[in-house]
Amino acid sequence: MIIAKALTKKFGNLTAVDNLYLHVRSGEIYSFLGPNGAGKTTTIRMLTGSLSPTSGAIEIDRKRYEQDEITIKRGIGVVPDEPRMYENLKGIEFIEFVKGIYHLDPKLTDQRFNELCAAFDIDFLQTYIGDYSHGMKQKLMVISVLMRRPKVLFLDEPTVGLDARAARVLKTLLDHFRNEGSAILLTTHILEIAEKMSDRIGIIRNGKMVVEGSMEDLRKIGNNQANSLEDIFLDLTSKDASAG
């Protein structure tokens, strides 16, 4: 579903993403890990059509941004790293806006929306987004994406700001979506989430993929007796580890 080939992004003379190959299949949760500034957000922004790559090819559900930008964007769901929404809209008005621009079926969406509101304990939609806390904004952003049931999902650190209950609900829902056949790419700094939830894990450093595979694969690759994902991660991303 999500395919990236030789994906590269340069900002001036900084290569933020360097010749990256990525393949996320449907019915799979792929965790994208890496230290701060490794290029995770940049990769997601390219994959979601928000940033054009310097070179390389992207394919989402067999379509390319060059030809079907709007169609792809209508089909995918993106939870960006920061929940930025129009501060002068009320929560409900933002939801209405999303329903409108994605041409969603009102009845079906409303039903899912109400379920999600109950699940995430959202009761603040009548107030302005500008008055929300970070976590409230994140919740709104998450449900505005999940209520669309997208087949392809990108989530950039989705649990940041969420309380324990909401984070649990989100994890359960993602699991559910995966079982229904969605392709999910998520980044996180919480290794426990990656370890427990994902089918495959990719670790990047300085824009290059360092290692990729299931938890079992990673255990085999990791040096000596490293057995938790944390050990492997710290080992592979430490300064003196050979990159690539």
Binding site: R45, I70, K73, P80, I92, D105, D110, N114, Q126, T127
Partner: protein
Amino acid sequence: MAFKTMIPLDFRLLLRYSLKNKKRRNKEKVRSGPLASAFSSWFGYLLAPLIFVVFLTPVYYDLFLKLAVPLVKFGMNSPFLVSDVLLAPVFTVTGLLFSLQFAALLVVELFENDMTPLLLTMPIRRSSIFIVSSMNTLLMTNFGISMTVSISLAYSMLNRDRLWWGILGICLWMLFLIALGVLFGLLLAKLIGKTAAKRASQLITFLIVILVVISPSVVTPVNGLNPGSVLRSLSGSANLFLSSGWPHYWLMVALKGQLAFLILLLAVTVSLFTFVFVCANTLNYSPARKNRDRRRVEVVGEKSGAKNRGSFPLLKKELRLMFRESGIIWYLIYPLAFPILLVIGRYHQTPFVSLLFMIVATMYSGMVSVTMMVFEKRIWPVPTYFPVSFLSSIRLKVFIPVVLFVLESLILLGLFIAQTPSAIYDVFMIAPIAMILYYCSLLGIRLFLQDPDRDISQRNRLLKGSEVLRLEAVSIGFSVGFYGAFYCLKTFLIEGSFLFFERLPPWSVILLLAGILIALLALLLRSIQMERRKIHRLLVE
């Protein structure tokens, strides 16, 4: 140097930061005189109120001159004039509204400035943040400034031999009002939250506009009546408003020559400011969030579900955001309110008013478009995830202000025609006005896009000074050119030859003026074409 050491360092740094338009990319430019660029930016923003002051002051001066009848003439034992009695409440009301508007805007500035939360975590005195915000706010109160300045300026012009004292008095008066506004701002900031403050400032805005539109029609009938009979009904108000407890009374008396009252005004202003400084240090910048409207969501879900899904979500969003942005409301009301005031009061002839409207409306259509761009910039890159092309979103940001200002010009035209039927020929100006509006909006958007890393944390300086001046030059140039040529042509055709045209044969005059109009039109069309191409190119990158 001595001046520099008098001001605390943190304050100076803050001011410097807030004055200069931060540019991330070319760092060399920042070093080359941030203060200079800041002042050009200030000038750019103050030009609009300046234009109003220039138009309004003679109006008030004329009014005061007509009413400069001593009260003694009517057997009242008072050193004042009829105009004083009528003016005292005007001073109070405009001053009070200016203070209130300033206060409401200040609260918005304090809570909306994206830097405030960060600055608060730094070892900077709260009072410094507060004062710098106040200075930024002052730029946005252009309506209030124009009113207060032009009234007091007209008043001091009555005593021309003491004009410099008068100007000093006006400065003090403004300072006093600002101090009062800051005080109100402090109270507001303590009492209400961010969104509530925005609503309050909008409410006050509407109040001022209504007042501005109504006030001349209340004052002007006095012109025709016997001042004596009016006086009787106003003697009560004289006792009330001309008592020595009022600050505006001190100003009025000082402008009449009793300079000692200036010292009183100064003393009160200084003590107010001192009080505010002390209070500002204890100010809590994050008011308690009041979630009054916590209703269950299900109800809402059902309601919105009944709505048609395809009902122009982009347009709806733009309009909602637009009318919730106090800055935009100003830009929309401003060009209409003043001409209406001038037309209803019959202060100016229609050509002046039309030109005034054209200049201000075109200038502001650019500013409105820029402000609407900020909606997206603020949540960037989220808009790039929406399944709509950014170009279609930009198209709305150009067309909405154009349509609204064209509607305003139609309203004005209706008023003009009701007053002077020959104004019907101004119908021909609608098309050029719409085109200039369109061009200014495009220009605003292009300027904004050209420097995508601009600092938008400060609402009142979205464009750099040079960019504002550029927009103003375009708007003034095309407006004056079009309207000038059109007005000459109209007058020539209706009333016959005038001025130096008398020396030319009639056909050549018509040819000349029509030629100018056509050339301007061609230039405008070409410029529009070029701007569109530039925007396309910027978007592709």
